[in-house]
Amino acid sequence: MNGATYPHAPGFVAGDRPRIVTGRFEYDDAHTLQRFLATGGYQGLQAALSRAPTEVHDEVKNATVLGRGGAGFPAGVKWGLTPQGVWPRYLVVNGDESEPGTYKDRLLMELDPHQLIEGCLIACYAAGLSQCFFYIRGEMALAQERVATALNDAYAAGYVGKNILGSEFSVDIVLHWGAGAYVVGEETALIESLEGNRGMPRLKPPYFPAAIGLYGQPTIVNNVETLANLPWLMLNGAAAYTAIGTPTSPGTRMVAVSGHVKRPGVYEIVNGTTTFRDLLYGDDFCGGIRDDNALKAFVPGGGSAPWFLPEQLDLPFENKLVSAEGSMLGSGAVMVMDETTDIPAAALTLARFYAHESCGKCTPCREGGTWLERIMQRIVEGYGTPRDLDQLLEIGQTICPGQFPHASSDRLGLTAVPFPYRMTTICFVGPSAYVPVHSALTLFPDEFEAKITRRNLIPVSVGASDDSH
């Protein structure tokens, strides 16, 4: 197998591919200012400062840098949504990466923090923002330490703060550690948390962050990886950026692979052209399924993405194509399940996560998520009833009314229902609890039926409430 790994960067696998954001990962001191400067660091910022903010903004727009947090919304367009002439306005960096299976942002923060700081500064310059809040997930101790150290060094060297590099441009960056709630990865919940409140999402409308965000001011919330693209883009230009990948999905993207592959890890792949088959089976990538088992199913875009079957392996990393096939690329996490996987148990694991992480604000998520989990628990433990399978789908209808996305399958005679779903909840956490249940039940009905026993009584102890939190 090809593809280099480095002891100081566990999880990262390099390869003979264009590298935009992981370019420095091979250095074990990439997180230091010294190494950063020696490898072209802060030159993207200098390039940006030598041009007018609108030109920088246009460059990002032309490059179609897609948001890497999950929704895949072009960053340049997002920046343009803030109302003009309202001050102050903020940049919030979403480093609360907690989607199951996703660990790419953590590597970016741990291994190349200056690249992020540089990206923040470029974004602030282009979008006319004077203050940046950098929110890092509470559990990521090393990332917090590395970003904090990098920020101190950057302040000391004059890259952050007043009159950056002698220009008229000033930005302050404030670090904030999360407290361990998955939902805070949702941008409005992150803003609530940043304000010191309980991390619960706000309603859109009216709380679109671009209009009413942090402290009620216009706010741009960008993912870590999105911002990490900007220094390279400033140095190499939009044309070089769009030369990689496809017109609708230019550049590269980081994908974290976990599960039953020979070499799980983070890969920077070419956007839009690399296929799932390349990723899972390519010598330069994961190198195949463990023990050369057969692939049973995989999750293409983080725990909240509907599942794919081997039939979808030849799809490239291209939002539109993946959506049409009933899932999403989401946060760039691929979870692989081989033929030995107990599908209902795997679905329960994911559903339990989302039920547990529900913030409790809206009814369908708070009650529905746990309800799904309880039924799944019973089924997995052998206490399922035939009625339960319909019940799972009916609970799902309350959370996500209408047709729910799923992949196509010749074997099952299914045609794909495209992504996204409709939802009665405030944010996607509620639907995410339903996603694995629906995918598992739709794509592997026989595995559920095999677990259903014909008992009439359910032992009281099963699924009893858990008051321990």
């Binding site: 409790g360 604000k361 708070r366 998520g369």
Partner: protein, 795 residues
């Protein structure tokens, strides 16, 4: 209401109103208002969208998801929460589409999944929005077969409120009320997901003056109040709309009874007054009406003892006393004190009895513990005008303690309507955190402090914006009642166009004043009456529901007054310190036992209702007046409450519109303004404070020894108790420490009080709450002096 069918207005083709937004709800065209929420616009045309978290008087949060409806803004119908989405032109709303009804059913099913369904033993059962909406919008059955969520059954979250977390549907109404409306964010969500629950913070109970409102707005039986819990079933309740007379704000409420006993008060949303809110004192003090200590029959003195007597015997005895007093000292030797606790009708009947039948000018409605009555004579503001003014100048008491719902309205004005409050305080209070400017001054310096505002350019510029309202009341019971009036006059000199909202405290003091319970030609005020009685110049003292030994700030003078009056007649609901010393005590009907009208601080005349039979043989005050007049050989000329109300309309200046019929019909009451002349300035001689002394500030807390609270078991123990509050640096200065006993000495007397470190007290002042359990601060007050200074010594 602008909810009209467009067809009706199209004939004349008037210019389209820019605030009109045409939408369609369930196929019907509706003209909604710009910025209006879909849920509200639909409700105006009778399309009720089910809801739990949405409340008209609070910010929407869109949490319960019950109000999901199909909304089409041109991109096809989509489910939207109607409490978060504002109307847009051309919007098509369908509240009954298959998708909407399925979503609503789904939400009900999920809300009921973990709900204990213990409706048979739930106070809310029968009036429960969850029950009602399960009936109207629910699926009819539950498919939830897992074990339900369990929590410890009710946990007290304050002295008055209990929380059952199993019943809670986490709608955020109580927590939003506590945070947004009351400003006491003492309850909050904890845990998350399916374990989310409402909790208080460790060791911090939900001690809000407004906690009872959370019980009222709870859409399930999760929050229950201690006094009402398990007292009645909603379908057994009989109810009548009335007005709270605990303080003079005049909150509208319904009185609810079961088996002829008062069991609950609930706030009514009166737009110009209380918006549905009540304070806990007003909400729960019905317990005192049900108290076993109530007087059931008149009492007549027989030697040392007061003995129950028939009404005829008591009336005859009272008439004898009055006639004897007249014979001994003439009609002017009879004085009538009080009357601010009754209805307008009570006050009017007693005013006629005193002035016309007895013929005395010595009548006064307050006990020397209010602001001077002529504050009513200034151009008066309404509560709405105050709560939407550009600037409000508050001179006087802590409104949160004395007129709590007026405080809520001002809080809303500051937070949501851009009103700026300039307060002049002798001790910082509930409004201080909201005030734009908080000017501290010492007792006796009100007018100077007000005049001092002119030195601040920002304040002058703010006042120049116009639309200024002055709220004026009694800041300090240990200073002269004229201080308030002088303050208003000084403020009017600064802002000549300002209106005045008098911050009178007692329930119907404004009504009592307007009805004529005020001095006639050459008559005396409370202080003068007290001095005259102490000097033996009052032959008969008539106490109308007042307790000077408790309420008169100068206790020594009150004692001398009571001792100096040879004949005392009292009308009261309880035996108090003062009524216990009377020769005849008439048993009076209490609030909820008598009907009539009342007048609030803005002059709004509203109904009060008789809901239960008066206790024992007690009678309303007005009836006692009519009968006493009869025995004395006069005829007041009315035999029923309605006749009295109409007599008031016919005879009292400014009250012509408040006929019995008109007041009953007007949902928001009838605004009436009497013809009292405005207060005139009177310079007071204030002695310089010796720098070793502390200037005494005596203020009120919401809960004190008043009968309404002391005889309500749920409230009685909430009175904080007597103590002297000093600024921490002043405590250090006197060499004492927080919680220790100190000796406080005025020219009158000495008391030993606990000292409390309190940063809200102005340095150089000593603040003591009035009428509290423990040593009586009234012993130190000399009402003839402009101010009282104290020496504070540590042991």
């Amino acid at each position: 209401m602008t909810a009209t069918e467009p067809g009706t207005a199209s004939a004349a083709e008037p210019a389209p109103n820019p605030n009109d937004v045409p939408i369609t709800v369930n196929g019907r065209p509706v003209i909604a208002r710009k910025g209006e929420l879909v849920i509200a616009a639909a409700q105006r045309i009778g399309e009720y969208i089910p809801r739990f978290c949405y409340h008209e008087r609070m910010q929407s949060v869109g949490m319960c998801r019950m109000c999901l409806v199909d909304v089409d803004t041109g991109r096809g119908p989509a489910l939207q929460v109607s409490c978060m989405i504002t109307v847009a032109p051309g919007m098509v709303v369908n509240t009954h589409s298959l998708a909407a009804e399925r979503a609503q059913e789904g939400v009900i099913e999920m809300l009921l999944a973990n709900h204990p369904l213990d409706c048979p033993v739930c106070d809310k059962g029968g009036e429960c929005p969850l029950q009602d909406q399960s009936f109207t919008h629910g699926p009819g059955e539950s498919r939830y077969i897992e074990e339900k969520r369990h929590f410890e059954k009710p946990i007290p979250i304050s002295d008055l409120v209990l929380l059952d977390r199993e019943r809670c549907i986490l709608c955020d109404r109580c927590t939003r009320f506590a945070d947004q409306v009351a400003g006491d964010a003492l309850i909050s969500f904890s845990s998350r997901g399916n374990n989310t629950q409402i909790t208080t913070f460790p060791d911090e109970p939900f001690a809000s003056y407004f906690s009872g409102n959370t019980v009222q707005i709870c859409p399930v039986g999760a929050l229950t109040s201690k006094p009402y819990r398990f007292k009645a079933r909603p379908w057994d309740l009989e109810q009548t709309e009335s007005t709270c007379t605990t303080c003079a704000v005049g909150c509208r409420m319904v009185i609810q009874s079961s088996h002829d006993e008062l069991v609950r008060y609930s706030g009514v949303d009166s737009d110009p007054v209380n918006w549905g809110w009540l304070c806990d004192r007003g909400r729960f003090n019905y317990e005192s009406v049900n108290s076993g200590d109530r007087l059931a029959a008149p009492l007549v003195r027989d030697g040392e003892e007061l003995k129950p007597a028939s009404w005829n015997a008591a009336l005859a005895r009272a008439a004898e006393l009055i006639s004897a007093a007249k014979a001994a000292g003439g009609p002017a030797s009879i004085a009538v004190l009080g009357g601010a606790r009754g209805t307008n009708e009570d006050a009017y009947a007693w005013a006629r009895l005193a002035h016309d039948v007895i013929g005395t000018p010595n009548v006064y409605p307050q006990m020397g513990d209010g602001v001077q009555i002529n504050v009513l004579g200034f151009e008066r503001a309404t509560i709405d005008e105050t709560a939407s003014a550009t600037t409000v100048i508050v001179i006087g008491p802590d409104l949160k303690e004395e007129l709590p719902v007026l405080f809520l309205r001002l809080r809303d004005a500051v937070l949501n309507r851009g009103t700026r409050v300039i307060e002049l305080v002798q001790k910082r209070g509930g409004l201080t955190p909201l005030a734009w400017r908080s000017i501290e001054y010492h007792a006796g310096g009100t007018a100077q402090a007000v005049a001092g505002l002119a030195a601040d350019g920002d304040i002058v510029a703010q006042l120049a914006k116009g639309n200024v309202v002055i709220v004026a009341g009694r800041a300090n019971l240990a200073e002269h009642p004229r201080e308030g009036g002088n303050g208003v006059l000084a403020a009017l000199e600064l802002v000549p166009g300002a209106k005045v909202l008098p911050a009178f405290r007692r329930g119907n003091v404004v009504g009592a004043i307007e009805m004529g319970l005020i001095p006639g030609e050459g008559g005396m005020q409370a202080l003068q009456i007290a001095e005259a009685a102490a000097a033996g110049r009052i032959e008969c003292l008539i106490l109308l529901g007042c307790d000077p030994l408790n309420d008169f700030p100068d206790t020594d003078l009150a004692r001398r007054m009571m001792a100096g009056a040879p004949r005392i007649i009292a009308v009261d609901t309880f035996i108090t310190k003062s009524s216990g010393a009377a020769d005849v005590v008439f048993a009076a009907a209490a609030y909820g036992e008598k009907s009539g009208t009342t007048t609030n601080i803005e002059g709004r005349v509203t109904t009060v209702a008789e809901r239960v039979t008066p206790h024992g043989t007690s009678r309303p005050d007005w009836m006692i007046a009519v009968e006493l007049a009869d025995v004395l050989g006069g005829d007041l000329g009315f035999g029923s409450v309605d006749e009295l109300t109409d007599a008031i309309a016919a005879n009292v200046a400014g009250f012509g519109a408040a006929t019995a019929d008109a007041v009953r019909r007007a949902t928001d009451g009838v605004l009436c303004r009497g013809a009292l002349p405005p207060a005139t300035p009177r310079a007071l001689t204030v002695e310089e404070r010796n720098s070793y002394d502390y200037r005494l500030v005596v203020g009120r807390k919401l809960y004190d020894n008043a009968q309404g609270t002391a005889k309500s078991p749920a409230l009685a123990h909430l009175a904080p108790g007597a103590a002297v509050h000093l600024h921490p640096l002043d405590i250090e200065r006197v060499g004492s420490s927080d919680g220790a006993d100190v000796k406080v000495t005025s020219k009158r007397a000495s008391l030993v009080l606990k000292v409390v470190a309190d940063e809200t007290v102005v340095r150089g002042s000593a603040w003591v709450p009035f009428n509290q359990p423990g040593p009586n601060i009234g012993e130190l007050i000399d009402a003839t002096q402009a101010v009282t200074d104290l020496r504070v010594e540590s042991f």
